[in-house]
Symmetry: C2
Subunit: 388 residues, 2 copies
């Protein structure tokens, strides 16, 4: 996700939070994955903010996107200069009000921020999994989240919210566990990747796998495929922005120069920006996780999996109330895809609100401060609470 946001300026904070861990090792101790393999024990890192009420009916699940983690809000340590990734949304009086709701966010499996992924130790070999980690799906991510919710002895979720790949998890939850999800907010997402989205992911994956340090995915004891991951992140970042936002933010402005250099290397600001994003990313993210999570997103296809090709059929067992949000300049998951989703939900007589927010910032808009989104979410959650 974008690093655009000046996350120091986000108002009241939930304060100090703690990274918690849940090990999913109950009998049979392994999770059977959709791809056929099984894996276990699995560790899930998570964070909670707010207080679980007595009736346990104030729970909101936050689902993160490709490069997110369980640290959604607040600070691990008073000395931290940056809060969790969605601190603008989650906190006292914010869009997701921690004075009212008990908010949970867990790191998805396949990722690299505490939950089991390709950089974890394979208990069978005592070595890192690398690409011996099995391919996972959005459904597999949801299964581990369900295990966490069971572990917390929560029977029902007031709401869940996520953007992008987080939105796919929201949709998968609603289809898989229709009786558990009272309401849901898929943001800037889709029920299936377009050929364009798959194409960008595949080129990014090829960039990682072309890096000789990738070494077929077994690089944890040596040099990491930093160049490949940098390029993959740069490709990703282009798709998160928009023609308009890049024009407004960078245009053709030069970096530190008044004239062209007539040399290779970053000289336009947009080039420096992308390289900076790529370089920052390799410090915190694992290249194999990028491969696994993007592949899971490419595989996601609600209509294929739950409707024999029909999206209307796929939503037929859903019971949740929905707020679907898209952004005008999001060309990765354009509004027409959200509209198809809304249409299929309505054909099932589901209670659906849809809002296309006018924004120039492209796909990343869902992570940026927006009174419009805050108010939409507040109103939707208030209404969902009253109906509980």
């Amino acid at each position: 996700m974008s690093e655009y946001i000046d996350q120091d300026q986000t108002g009241a904070s939930v304060g100090i939070v703690e990274k918690q861990f849940f090990t999913f090792a109950a009998p049979p101790g392994r999770l059977k994955l959709e791809g056929g393999a099984s894996i276990g024990p699995l560790t899930i890192a998570y964070e909670t903010c707010g207080t679980l009420n007595k009736d346990k009916n104030n729970v909101i699940l936050v689902l993160h996107a490709l490069s997110g983690d369980s640290h959604m809000a607040g600070y691990y340590d008073p000395k931290d200069t940056k809060p969790g990734w969605w601190d603008i949304m989650v906190g006292p009086g914010k869009g997701i009000d921690t004075d009212k709701y008990f908010v949970i966010c867990s790191n998805i499996i396949g990722s690299c921020s505490g939950s089991t992924g390709p950089a974890s130790i394979n208990p069978e070999t005592s070595k890192t999994y690398g690409t011996h980690f099995p391919l996972i799906t959005i459904g597999d991510m949801v299964e581990t989240q369900k295990a966490l919710i069971d572990h917390l002895e929560i029977k029902s979720l007031l709401s869940m919210i996520g953007g992008s790949i987080g939105g796919m998890q929201v949709l998968e939850w609603c289809v898989r566990y229709p009786d558990m999800v009272k309401s849901a907010i898929p943001l800037a997402t889709t029920t299936q990747h377009s050929a364009l989205a798959i194409a960008f992911n595949e080129v990014a994956r090829q960039a990682i796998m072309a890096d000789p340090n990738w070494n077929d995915g077994h690089y944890y004891s040596g040099k990491k495929p930093d160049m490949g991951l940098t390029i993959a992140r740069m490709i990703g970042h282009i798709t998160y922005l928009s023609d308009e936002s890049m024009r407004l933010k960078f245009g053709r402005k030069l970096q530190n120069r008044s004239a062209l250099s007539f040399e290779f290397g970053a000289e336009f600001q947009v080039e420096s920006y992308l390289q900076h994003q790529g370089n920052k990313f390799i410090e915190r993210f694992d290249a194999n996780s990028f491969l696994y999570i993007t592949k899971a997103a490419d595989y996601f296809d609600l209509a294929r999996q739950y409707g024999s090709g029909s999206l209307v059929k796929a939503f037929s067992k859903c019971k949740s109330k929905f707020l679907v949000v898209s952004y005008t300049s999001d060309w990765l998951y354009p509004t027409y895809q959200s509209k198809e989703m809304v249409k299929a939900m309505k054909k099932n007589n589901l209670d659906v609100s849809f809002c296309e927010i006018d924004a120039q910032w492209g796909h990343d808009a869902f992570l940026l401060p927006s009174d419009r989104l805050d108010n939409l979410i507040k109103g939707f959650l208030r209404s969902a609470s009253h109906e509980t």
Copy 2:
């Protein structure tokens, strides 16, 4: 450019053509480049079709794009299975009718199909230039084309036509040599790259430079940076298509399989298509040429160079009659950029026709068979001939 077109089905052919060479070594034997360096002698590969008339007033210059060459139409050898890259447009009775016009196309400098570029021998060292080749501009390309036209003792060009980077050369010619260009057809092009276009080019360049075989550009005696160039080409291809064209052509169709493989590697058709395009490209194109030509395109900025930032001023000395063409689904050089160009031309009271062609094929549409484009070009050239 795209390999979509079934180029065997393009009607009457100009027949057998020959690759010709012109060495630009007249005193001082070197070309002073815009970046400050000088280089020489320079060889220019070119092709002509049709017959130069007595008054030498039936000349049309075709300018090729990033990966094109001088071989625009016909066949080098009767056994060739594919004709030149724009055979659908250039030939007897075609959009650019070789029964009427004398058509010239030369390979741009910096490229790798006969004209001097980074893979050529540097006469000062007797070794390949590699990245000792100086950075070039669209203006430098035009200067060598001007030298070729002088060499052919042609004083005036009835018209010139080019798409994408070829269109940039068209515009540069009209501004640099206003008295020589009677009419001009810039297709699917822009007067300056947007931040988005620069971003894609930079990521593609980074992919090449990250390939260890690139070796700072000095790889001609060893392994070539094939992986890097493959990825660069895949990125390029995504930008030449469109969300709609990819949806129609590929959607989420799988390659040779009925179910997901749960393995990495190309399994969606769009992935196989891009890899195939990348693999074909490395057989015919030089990675360094990709770097030099994309950088020249990023540098191109008519308003900066000729108008102190004003596009209206940049066109103020132009005299050509224009036909500007854009495509609805071209998101690399969107229609709004063509409209800005047309507006600036009109403010200079130039004779400008503008047409936005409704096409789903993205930027590559200008290379695809189109009766609409053929007829537009035929009419425009007929009118330009009558005025001569």
